[in-house]
């Protein structure tokens, strides 16, 4: 029988060395996906990912439950917003970063752009271009709207869960979501 989140975090607090790893593996994909969509940059997302779980590790004793996922995304959101604020001031480029003069965003997109091998090359290029337009449209949203959209649409959290993560009312979440969608309706490409 699979351990519940609560039992894992309790075990981690008791000093069980494997519990934290299991939590990271359980939620790693969705947290990383969330952070990539929030930042639009896989590398930055990985940094934020590390920082998120570092904080989870440090703050585990403050978790009161019941929903670990919501608490985790709350931390991830805070880390992301802090990171963006800092990122505006410090621009660090990884030494391992893939640089390509012809496509300055090549390092940012690869992780999230859907490339389906069933398409022919020209269709793939078109899809990649459209995916880039979508990414840019999302990136242009204000941080709160972006977080709401990503949590509700991509992470498929309910509006009440999004409200808990973002620390606001459901009404505010719906307003943010509506505004995000209104903006995107103008900017999303025709597919």
């Amino acid at each position: 029988m699979e351990n519940t989140d609560k039992s894992l975090i309790d075990a981690h607090r008791r000093g069980d060395p494997t519990a934290f790893g299991e939590l990271v593996r359980r939620y790693g994909d969705s947290v990383l996906g969330y952070l990539i969509r929030m930042s639009g940059n896989r590398e930055q997302a990985e940094d934020l990912f590390q920082e998120t779980f570092k904080r989870v590790h440090e703050k585990a004793h403050t978790f009161r439950g019941p929903q670990f996922k919501g608490w985790l995304f709350q931390i991830a959101t805070r880390v992301a917003l802090d990171g963006f604020r800092q990122g505006k001031r410090i621009k660090a480029v990884s030494l391992n970063q893939q640089l390509d003069c012809n496509n300055p965003n090549s390092d940012q997109l690869g992780a999230v752009a859907v490339v389906d091998n069933s398409y022919n090359p020209s269709e793939q290029a078109l899809k990649a271009e459209q995916a880039e337009q979508v990414r840019q449209a999302i990136q242009l949203l204000p941080e709160r709207q972006r977080a709401t959209l990503v949590l509700a649409y991509y992470q498929q959290l309910s509006y009440s869960d999004v409200a808990k993560v973002l620390g606001c009312s459901v009404g505010t979440v719906k307003t943010q979501m509506f505004r995000a969608l209104k903006t995107l309706a103008q900017k999303l490409p025709e597919i």
Binding site: D29, E43, F49, H57, I90, K91, L95, Q98, A131
Partner: protein, 604 residues
């Protein structure tokens, strides 16, 4: 059907944003309205574009390992038994064989071993994750240099020999899409020449770059610094005939970086000098003087305070300070903030506050790491000699040794120290300049006789103290700002109003005479005679000298006094008096001023 759903209502319906009641109303409407259904389908199709980014993301095992290591957890690693994977076993066998060979060579050439042992440092760095990597100041610096080559991946020590392989004559358009990082060179040496008057600093760095034979790209980033990208220059210090710096490009859309294209006929490490201008480094001079108890001599200490707000840390930099005005076309700070394509100087708009924030931020690890270094150089702090030499219209001060000047830090250095400078304490009284109070001055000359005169003294603030008693307690006497003092020039330091010396001028008599009338019997000329009595009180326990300047408002005057005076200028006379401690003295004079046609009588 009337009252179609608006786009807003359709969005709210599609994403469940409206109330339950509104949802059911919209649902009912849609059931009976083909037009709205069609619009809803278009909307759904529109938002389907969002699904282009709906891809499953997978966290790599490496990233999970890093997270767990960071959290101090045991890392679960996949272990593959050798017997289950024949090729793994073969690799392991080869590694063992290599190890044995290596050990057998250990005694043959120890020096070679040691040399190679030092090499992998930069590769260790490369293997670590870029922005997350800690422990090396270069990695945390906002300015970075990344060298990359387009032909080879393997770093090798410089052999001094060029291989026979030919180099493609075709210029590579851009660095390869996957960077093959050769090295992350640290600064070996750095020299800062700070031009105070223009907020301009010339930086000369020496770095050992590892080149490969062929085309090499060298990337230089200056994000969050005040470096002027148009001033960048790169020169090899060795092997110049075999290394050709082809061009410096500022790639479109990639901000705040430039790339040099280097053609090298050799492989290995080559020392390069990189020069550029930056802004944000500054220095100012200030001085502390201590008067002896009898105020006949003064000890003077000159200091220079270096400040770094350039956004870049400069470790172990040789620092030179320039006194004098430099003519420049543009403010370097503005040049540094220009955006791509950096082609011509000009005024740019920028968000000053945002920029200030930009250079001020460092992450926690960075702070911690830097703090350690800073503590080290605090411990090493000792008086450094500042050498001075003339440089055309400027004067160059070179600080002995090297200094580490982290960003946003300042550092105070002793510039000179001179004992027993003979000084004159002087009081001045001039109503037109300072009102009815005496001002205290300390006078000396910047020459050999006064134990000075080695160099000009840059402008700066000066604070004067004096020994208050025999226990050598100091008291603050006054402070002022001095201007640039050339060698052999006299200096007068204004120490502010003197409370212990009082000057009280009284007009004792006034009369007019010698009237001259014109043809219409109007007054055309006359004399005014004023008799003044000035009482001077010295309540100090030291004798003083006081200089009293009197103005008459006209160039036509004559003066009678038992006290000697000098004609200071056309309209002023000056008396110099000596007063004993705790004494009073009275200065009396009568001045006759000539007005109208009476002026002519004075010039006849």
């Amino acid at each position: 059907m009337e009252n179609h759903l608006t786009e807003n209502e359709l969005i709210e319906y599609r994403f469940g944003l409206s109330s339950q009641e509104q949802q059911s109303i919209s649902s009912e409407h849609l059931a009976g309205c083909a037009e709205c259904r069609e619009r809803l389908e278009q909307l759904i199709k529109k938002f389907a574009a969002l699904d282009l980014l709906r891809e499953d993301t997978h966290v790599s095992e490496e990233l999970i390992s890093e997270v767990l290591e960071q959290a101090g957890q045991p890392v679960h690693r996949k272990i593959v038994p050798f017997y289950k994977s024949p090729w793994t076993g073969a690799v392991a066998a080869a590694l063992v064989a290599c190890f044995v060979l290596l050990m057998s060579n250990l005694n043959i050439d120890k020096s070679t071993q040691q040399q190679f042992a030092r090499e992998p440092k930069s590769e260790d760095k490369i293997a670590s994750k870029g922005p997350g990597a800690k422990g090396e100041s270069q990695a945390d610096s906002p300015m970075k240099i990344i060298a990359q080559d387009t032909e080879s991946k393997i770093q090798m020590p410089f052999t001094g020999e060029s291989t026979s392989e030919s180099i493609s004559e075709q210029l590579p358009f851009a660095p390869a899409s996957a960077i093959e990082l050769v090295t992350l060179p640290r600064r070996d040496k750095v020299q800062l020449t700070i031009y105070k008057s223009a907020d301009l600093t010339l930086v000369r760095e020496r770095r050992n770059l590892t080149l490969k034979k062929g085309w090499n790209w060298l990337q230089f980033m200056w994000a969050n610094t005040l470096i002027d990208p148009t001033s960048l220059s790169l020169e090899p210090l060795e092997q110049a005939g075999k290394i050709d710096i082809q061009q410096l490009v500022f790639p479109a859309r990639l901000r705040e970086l430039g790339r040099w294209l280097i053609r090298s006929e050799i492989s290995g490490q080559v020392p390069f000098e990189i020069t550029y201008f930056t802004s944000g480094l500054s220095w100012r001079a200030f001085y502390m003087g201590t008067l002896s108890q009898n105020e006949k001599t003064m000890k003077m200490q000159g200091y220079v305070r270096l400040g770094n707000n350039s956004g870049e840390d400069y470790d172990n930099a040789q620092t030179r300070l320039i006194v004098g005005q430099v003519h420049i076309l543009d403010e370097i700070a503005q040049l540094a903030r220009r955006q791509y394509p950096y082609d011509r100087p000009g005024i740019i708009d920028y968000d000053e506050s945002a920029f200030k924030k930009g250079v001020s931020v460092t992450n926690e690890e960075y702070q911690t790491g830097r703090l350690g270094q800073r503590q080290n150089w605090f411990a090493d702090l000792k008086a450094k000699e500042i050498k001075k030499e003339g440089l055309s219209e400027y004067f160059l001060y070179t600080i002995d040794g090297t200094e580490t000047i982290p960003n946003e830090w300042g550092k105070r250095l002793l510039s000179f120290e001179a004992d027993d400078i003979a000084v004159e304490s002087l009081y001045k009284y001039d109503e037109e300049r300072w009102g009815n109070q005496a001002i205290r001055f300390v006078k000396f000359t910047n020459d050999d006789k006064h134990n000075l005169g080695q160099t000009p003294i840059p402008n700066g603030d000066v604070k004067i103290y004096s020994y208050a008693d025999e226990q050598s307690y100091l008291s603050y006497v006054g402070g002022t700002e001095i201007k640039y003092i050339p060698v052999d020039e006299k200096v007068e330091l204004n120490l502010g109003p003197a409370r212990l010396v009082k000057i009280e001028p009284k007009l004792m008599d006034f009369k007019t005479e010698n009237y001259i009338f014109d043809n219409r019997a109007n007054v055309s000329g006359w004399d005014e005679i004023r008799s003044w009595k000035i009482e001077i009180t010295n309540t100090r326990t030291l004798p003083i000298q006081i200089e009293i300047t009197r103005g008459f408002g006209t160039a036509y005057w004559t003066l009678q006094s038992e006290t000697t005076y000098e004609k200071y200028d056309a309209t002023h006379a000056r008396f110099i008096l000596e007063l004993e401690p705790r004494s009073k003295q009275t200065l009396e004079y009568t001045v006759r001023t000539y007005h109208g046609t009476r002026e002519e009588s004075l010039t006849e």
